[in-house]
């Protein structure tokens, strides 16, 4: 018997694909899968959340009732205005709107679940007239009427549930441990719809839309002050100038009046703001 030892060529048991290429392909695939599942989960969560009866949403939002501040003149005034806006919007009686005032120099206002609307001192101080304030409240009530907050909560819950399943840690409750849902991610479509409905309500209350668009000028100046203006694609709020254009078109279409005859805020308004 003869024993020979021929040389076996290299690379039969080992693939020649460059590891960095494999890496890129796999990472891209992974990201695509993650983004797609997050999008689908968000869509599903939002859809399901909208099916939740409003009474359940109110129960979820019970925490806000506890932190409610004592009735002040300011809150009384704001609540009264909100009720007028809600009536003008023909909001169902089963959807009560509650106004909260936050005495912080922040230019912000938001609506959250259970018809709770938070207005910040910083933004209120900049408002020139009651019509502008009505527009702000009407915009937020329109979110409540469209049930945008619960949709946002549902989307976030579905996505965080997906993350939990993927990462396998249960350290964050599905609905968040604090129960305060202040991080609302409304889509641009939601914002536009709320703008349109809000403007309709203002027209119905005052008979004209004068002063309403001042709100967007203020928002524009606020975003110009605060930071570099983001491209529209990256921000959930459409840029104020785009919103302004859309609303101007709407006003022209319905031939609404922009009367300069706006209703002034109560004399003591700024005093109330610093008090509360």
């Amino acid at each position: 018997m003869k024993y020979e030892t021929p040389k076996i060529p290299e690379g039969i048991n080992v693939s020649k694909t460059h590891p960095l290429k494999t890496f890129t392909v796999l990472i891209a695939g992974m990201l695509a899968v993650l983004l797609l599942s997050a999008w689908l989960l968000g869509l599903g969560g939002g859809y399901l959340a909208k099916k939740l009866p409003y009474s359940q949403e109110l129960r979820l939002a019970e925490t806000y009732q506890e932190v409610a501040a004592p009735q002040t003149e300011l809150l009384f005034y704001l609540q009264q205005l909100a009720d007028r806006v809600a009536a003008a919007m023909e909001l169902s009686d089963s959807m009560p709107v509650t106004i909260h005032y936050v005495s912080e120099p922040v230019d912000n206002a938001f609506a959250t679940i259970g018809g709770n609307i938070f207005l910040y001192k910083g933004l209120l101080q900049k408002l020139p007239s009651e019509n502008t304030l009505a527009m702000l409240i009407a915009h937020e009530i329109a979110h409540v009427a469209h049930r945008d907050p619960i949709v946002s909560v549902g989307q976030n819950a579905a996505i965080s549930m997906g993350m939990m399943v993927l990462l396998g840690n249960a350290d964050s409750g599905i609905l968040g441990s604090t129960g305060l849902y202040t991080q609302m991610n409304f889509s641009r479509d939601m914002e536009t719809a709320a703008d349109v409905r809000g403007l309709n309500a203002v027209q119905r209350i005052y008979g004209h839309v004068g002063g309403a668009l001042d709100l967007y000028k203020i928002l524009e100046s606020v975003s110009a002050d605060s930071s570099v203006s983001q491209p529209e694609f990256f921000s959930t709020h459409p840029q104020s100038s785009t919103r302004l254009d859309d609303l101007n078109n709407l006003i022209q279409k319905h031939s609404w009046q922009q009367s300069p005859d706006v209703k002034l805020l109560p004399d003591d308004f700024s005093a109330w703001l610093s008090e509360g």
């Binding site: 018997m1 024993y3 040389k7 048991n13 590891p19 960095l20 890496f23 796999l26």
Partner: protein, 151 residues
Amino acid sequence: MIYQIIWVLALLVVGYIIGTYLERKHYRSILKREEALRSLPVVASKYLPEDGVSYQQTLVMGNVTISVDYFKRFLATLHNFFGGRVTSYESLLDRARREAMLRMKSQAASQQASLVLNVKYETASIYKGSGSNIGSVEVLAYGTALIPKST
């Protein structure tokens, strides 16, 4: 969170650069030693050559533990998600098997063996019990070395 991501990225880069360098170096050395020891035949047969020579026999073995670098382990985790061929582990096992074989052969050669019979491989994953950390293997190659009796 952001520090964790930076840490992982740094490990990936360091793992990739140094891991690739070490692997190339190892392959160069494997090829060189394989060439030097190629004249010693190694077979999986159990039967002795019927050439009339009388042999003395002894058990020879060589073992090695090799670890895969962080980058390739990360790649394998990704492969785990999608399934399919885990290309990043192929070279790890290939290197380990060939290194173990070379060590066995050099042990046999140092005893002036002319043939190694009935060669067997034994592979064990070192981190088997610890879930995601699989990535080190030990390979043992053993066989019976035949040493011609100097009569």
